[in-house]
């Protein structure tokens, strides 16, 4: 079913909205959550919470890209879940944070930028200026939490090309955040 029809079902308060969402997006949502948490049980819980959150937010929200909308919800829920668990288990979340450490300027005002919304805007500008292939690699890695190997298979590249590309983009992002730092 097309996204706008599913969204209409949410607006009509039809429970079929959930089943259609499950049919179309459950696999993708589970994948995002599992990549961050590395736990089937926790991922399943986050998926169910995502449906509940979507049910509560529509209306008033009317997303055009339902997949993106749900992905954002489950990503945020999974990050919260990871934090609340204080897990000793090494999850994808930690792995990604370690990589993103390279993007943090020294000294950093990321906290201030995050709080006033400048950080999200800077990242959006950075992503908008990337060529399409690079943009997809970046988003697959740091939004969807795909592994380098998964990205390589999806894009038809070698793993080393994906790693190199990510390394360069992290460096570019660090430079941009350094400039933003000066503006804060």
């Amino acid at each position: 079913m097309e996204d706008f029809k599913i969204v209409d079902l949410y607006w009509e308060r039809s429970e079929r909205a959930i089943s259609e969402t499950r049919t179309k997006y459950e696999r993708m949502l589970s994948g995002i959550s599992y990549s961050l948490l590395r736990s089937d049980e926790d991922a399943e819980e986050c998926v169910n919470d995502t449906y509940l959150s979507a049910w509560n937010s529509m209306p008033s929200d009317r997303p055009i890209y339902l997949g993106a909308y749900l992905s954002k919800i489950i990503r945020a829920l999974s990050i919260d879940k990871f934090r609340s668990k204080h897990s000793k288990r090494r999850g994808g979340f930690e792995e990604l944070c370690e990589e993103l450490d390279e993007c943090i300027p020294d000294p950093s005002s990321i906290q201030a930028q995050y709080e006033n919304g400048q950080l999200a805007k800077a990242i959006n500008r950075f992503i908008a200026e990337l060529p399409e292939e690079k943009r997809v690699i970046f988003i697959r890695r740091y939004f969807y939490s795909d592994s380098v190997e998964q990205i390589a298979a999806r894009m038809g590249f070698t793993s080393s090309k994906v790693k190199t590309s990510l390394f360069r983009m992290r460096e570019e992002l660090r430079q941009i955040l350094e400039k933003e730092d000066m503006l804060v």
Binding site: E2, F4, K5, V7, D8, M28, R62, P63, I64, Y65, G67, A68, Y69, S71, K72, R75, A76, I79, H86, S87, K88, F93, E94, L96, C97, E98, L100, D101, C103, I104, S108, I110, Q111, Y114, L119, A120, I123, N124, R125, I127, A128, E132, R135, V136, I139, R140, Y142, F143, Y144, R154, M155, G156
Partner: protein
């Protein structure tokens, strides 16, 4: 407690990446790799050879080709009521049409009604680029922007072609918008109107419409968001 090996700011960065524009996420979700069945070297050789042939052909036949094409465009518009158009001239103002990505700030260029109807409309119908064209009720000029993102263009076309997504709206969806068109650059123009008033009455002189549609609320919201970005 877990043994944290990274800067706490990285967590904020990872969270902020969760705020990226939905259209980028959609693009990454729907991305399909371009498969190449030939080795890169062969492709490069073939491309160079083709460019040489193309350049040679172009240098011989460019005048004739342009003339034929202009005749074709003019013939396609034999029924168009705009009598001011000088088909033999065919000049388009250079650099007047910007390429933009919708997910960033959307820039537009205003055309006076006269510019729009006499020079730009027919060329923009067949230039292969997807465009939004609109006019506010309090302005004389039309606004236009070209969509450079393939996923945005694809999304627009999918929504417009699956007409089941369009329905009557019971309330005005965009008071400040007088007319609105989506042009796909292959001669096809969709004309959803964004309010429950007279729709396209009075605008039929611009294009030979393929469709006139009433948008669903979600589509109207989508378009309003795009246009609102322009005014911010």
């Amino acid at each position: 407690m877990r043994d944290q090996k990274y800067n706490k700011d990285s967590e904020l960065l990872l969270e902020a990446i969760g705020e990226i524009d939905d259209r980028f996420i959609f693009e990454a979700e729907s991305y399909e790799r371009k498969k190449s069945s030939l080795p890169l070297r062969k492709l490069i050789i073939a491309a160079v050879a083709l460019s040489l042939v193309f350049t040679f052909t172009l240098s011989l036949g460019i005048g004739l080709m342009l003339g034929s094409n202009r005749d074709k465009v003019d013939n396609d518009f034999n029924n168009a009521p705009n009598e001011d158009y000088d088909g033999a001239d065919g000049n388009v103002k250079p650099g007047v049409q910007p390429i933009v990505t919708l997910s960033d700030t959307l820039h537009s260029v205003k055309f006076s009604s006269e510019d729009f109807s006499t020079e730009f409309d027919r060329d923009m119908l067949f230039d292969g680029k997807t465009k939004l064209i609109w006019k506010y009720s309090d302005e004389e000029s039309y606004r236009v922007c070209t969509i450079s993102s393939n996923s945005d263009a694809k999304q627009l076309r999918t929504q417009l072609e699956s007409k089941s997504g369009f329905k009557n709206v019971s309330e005005p969806a965009g008071d400040s918008i007088d007319g609105f068109w989506v042009c796909f650059g292959d001669g096809l123009v969709y004309t959803p109107y964004l309010r429950s008033s007279d729709g396209n009455v009075g605008y039929g002189e611009l294009f030979d419409y393929e469709q006139e549609l009433e948008p669903s609320k979600s589509f109207a919201t989508f378009i309003r968001e795009i246009i609102n970005e322009e005014s911010n």
